[in-house]
Subunit: 438 residues, 2 copies
């Protein structure tokens, strides 16, 4: 297919959906891709790149295969936010060189967007929106809309601005369509516009769009000037990213989602955590080492170490997950925190009591040793309370100090709780040793 | 505010965004809610309910506060998919009684939707779409669109059907707007419609909409009849649900997201896993019990139990998370599986070797006991390989048997790997005991 016929390729390729075009292109070997660059215009290639889903590091390679003028043309044909996503993966010199050969208008828009900090509303917004004035008629608004439609990222919301480009209203295409031609825009526009600030966190933006069921939201600066819009497709990507980020961290792995080309890159994502954890584990070991005398006398104590440590780890992970999600949902007002801690303590008491009694009985009947059962069961009870509190407190404290609470990953809390649980267990064991020595 | 003035309340209430209205309503005490039902029409109340975010169990209480005719009126004014969401929370008799007092058209639509199985495309779709024929002009299509706009869930895509209601094309409002009035629909419609089947899993639908950046997707039966559409706001809810579901399961907790009214409901969500895990933990304990003789002779072995078990648990959770996500993303073609297992084994060898050597050296220098270091390090090496494989295999096997792989939660894998690691560790220890006895 690829090797000769331009026309046939173009007919087939342009007939399929842009997302499928991008998928097809991403799978091609290098020499076939070189053909594609000659068969397609920069504009057509721009559509492919807007839909491309590849590793961040691959953009550089793909762009280097093309003629720089072609790249510049393509980038200026892309929606500005998508072009910025691509450019963010290149080094500064490359970006500068592409921007100089680009036409001035597109370069200007892109430069402006490159400015904003990562993970803010500014970094995911696009400047291709449609703006009208409030003293227009619906008819003239529709005229502007038709004219600008090919270039705008969405035409389903039209924003109303005043002479100083301040956002004063919003009107949906739905409202425009059902209104009479000579209605004035200010009569039908909504002047209570929900907007986001350009420096707002992208997670916050996602939450707003989800709650309000918006297809797009306007982005403003602190003086209420309309700077851009964020569309729902960008928000879906943000939500996916954040969800998989939280998930990865709970599992103690750098990035769970990207395809690993080989075992070394996979190992690289897991080793940092594993190495930190082995040192924390050595601490646990040295802690038990301090109780070697106790252990020498009552070897059976060792039997229950994994049980107690495991329960502490599990209950800590549960409390952690609840706390991280609650913070992520934004349910973190000051007055709630004390309440949350009290509630976690209460939950710890209940789960600790239930599990403690079950385990006490099992150990008692299994080993026919009442004091051993009591020791293990009581240790479980105390351990679960403390571990639950630790799981809930660590993310809260991290959040307080503006650290992303999700970095307190499951394995980390698990290991911390291992240590706590062993201290509690051997502490009690040493105290009541007289009752235990057989 | 609430106590007297109807007009003032209506002006203020109807001026804010429906989402804010719903939030306001949800926070009202019962007696204030009773006022609201008298102040608002069923139609206005329907808009509130469409935007309500409450616990599933609360719907029953709220509806019972209203007059049944009011409820029926309200439900028939809601978008059919939202009404079905509410009705799904009631028992069958209540649903039947509301449906009988509802007007026939709305009741018919809702009955049809109640039919579909949970978590399928059918269960989240709505029947309020706009359909036209291909031999219409753009002008007449726009006329239909304007007429149906108030009732349709989205007007931004218009679906083209033939005489037998089979889906033959799609056209966006954008395309309609930029076309001349007398263009024929078949000239500008796209006849390669991406659609989903009514029985398709909702996660699959979400994936498609995300990949193709759709605002809505048509739902068809096996004969290509257009049954309904799914809009992007429903998909965002699905994505949130699935992400938080996976997250909860990794943490070993039933539901991480819903607000817990009291410590008992919080404990209830955590106890099932904790109890299962305490029995698994008892198995670990009885396993160590079998090595009591070994332990009696070399008490220092106990010191490294949590380290080894912890490393096994952590690495297993990492492998689990990667496998679960990969299956969720749909990257689970047959030929990939063997490759995935080989890759996980390779990753296990690398991480095992690195951690094993580090730990061997630390133990050697700490305890000045070469054989102990070798034993612990080598156990870590073998354990990490096996634990990584277990973490990757369990979800794959579950997926094979059509069980949701995410139920293989982190704590579950952790405990399984505890057992494996202890077997390996004490197995080696018993074998090489002669070298170890001090």
């Amino acid at each position: 297919l690829e090797d000769e016929n331009i026309d046939e390729f173009r007919t087939l390729f342009l007939d399929i959906h842009p997302y499928e075009r991008a998928k097809f292109y991403a799978k091609l070997p290098k020499d076939a891709r070189m053909h594609v660059y000659h068969f397609l215009s920069p504009e057509e290639m721009a559509e492919v790149f807007e839909n491309l889903e590849i590793e961040d590091t691959e953009y550089e390679e793909l762009l280097s295969e093309m003629n720089p003028t072609f790249v510049a043309d393509m980038l200026s044909q892309m929606y500005a936010d998508d072009a910025v996503d691509v450019l963010n993966e290149l080094d500064k010199e490359q970006v500068a060189s592409y921007l100089t050969i680009m036409d001035d208008e597109a370069a200007g828009e892109i430069k402006q967007l490159l400015h904003y900090e990562e993970y803010t509303a500014g970094s995911i917004m696009t400047t291709e929106f449609i703006a009208i004035h409030s003293n227009q008629t619906v008819k003239s608004a529709m005229y502007i809309l038709k004219k600008e439609a090919p270039r705008a990222e969405t035409i389903y919301y039209v924003y109303v601005i005043d002479e100083e480009k301040r956002l004063v209203g919003v009107i949906s295409l739905r409202d425009l369509i059902v209104s009479d031609d000579d209605t004035m825009v200010y009569e039908i526009m909504s002047d209570r516009v929900v907007s986001v600030s350009v420096s707002e966190d992208q997670e916050e933006v996602a939450r707003k769009m989800r709650d309000y069921n918006f297809l797009a939201v306007p982005v403003i600066d602190f003086q209420n000037h309309l700077l851009g819009i964020i569309t729902v497709d960008d928000i879906i990507d943000v939500m996916e990213e954040e969800a998989s980020d939280d998930y990865s961290k709970l599992a103690g792995i750098t990035d769970v989602d990207s395809a690993d080309k080989n075992i070394f890159s996979a190992a690289k994502k897991r080793l940092p955590w594993l190495i930190i954890l082995s040192f924390l584990g050595m601490m646990t070991a040295s802690l038990i080492g301090r109780f070697e005398d106790t252990l020498d006398q009552i070897a059976i104590l060792a039997v229950f170490i994994p049980l107690i440590a495991g329960m502490a780890g599990n209950t800590g992970t549960q409390a952690l997950a609840v706390a991280v999600r609650r913070i992520a949902i934004g349910d973190d007002k000051e007055e709630n925190k004390l309440f949350l801690i009290i509630r976690e303590a209460g939950t710890g008491v209940i789960t600790g009591a239930v599990c403690g009694i079950i385990i006490m009985l099992v150990v008692y009947f299994w080993k026919s040793d009442f004091f051993l059962g009591l020791l293990v069961g009581f240790s479980i009870f105390i351990t679960l309370i403390v571990a639950t509190l630790a799981g809930a407190l660590v993310p809260l404290i991290m959040h307080k100090f503006k650290v992303d609470p999700a970095v307190a990953s499951g394995p980390f809390i698990t290991t911390i709780n291992d240590i706590i649980s062993i201290l509690i267990y051997f502490g009690f064991a040493s105290l009541f040793m007289n009752y235990l020595v057989q």
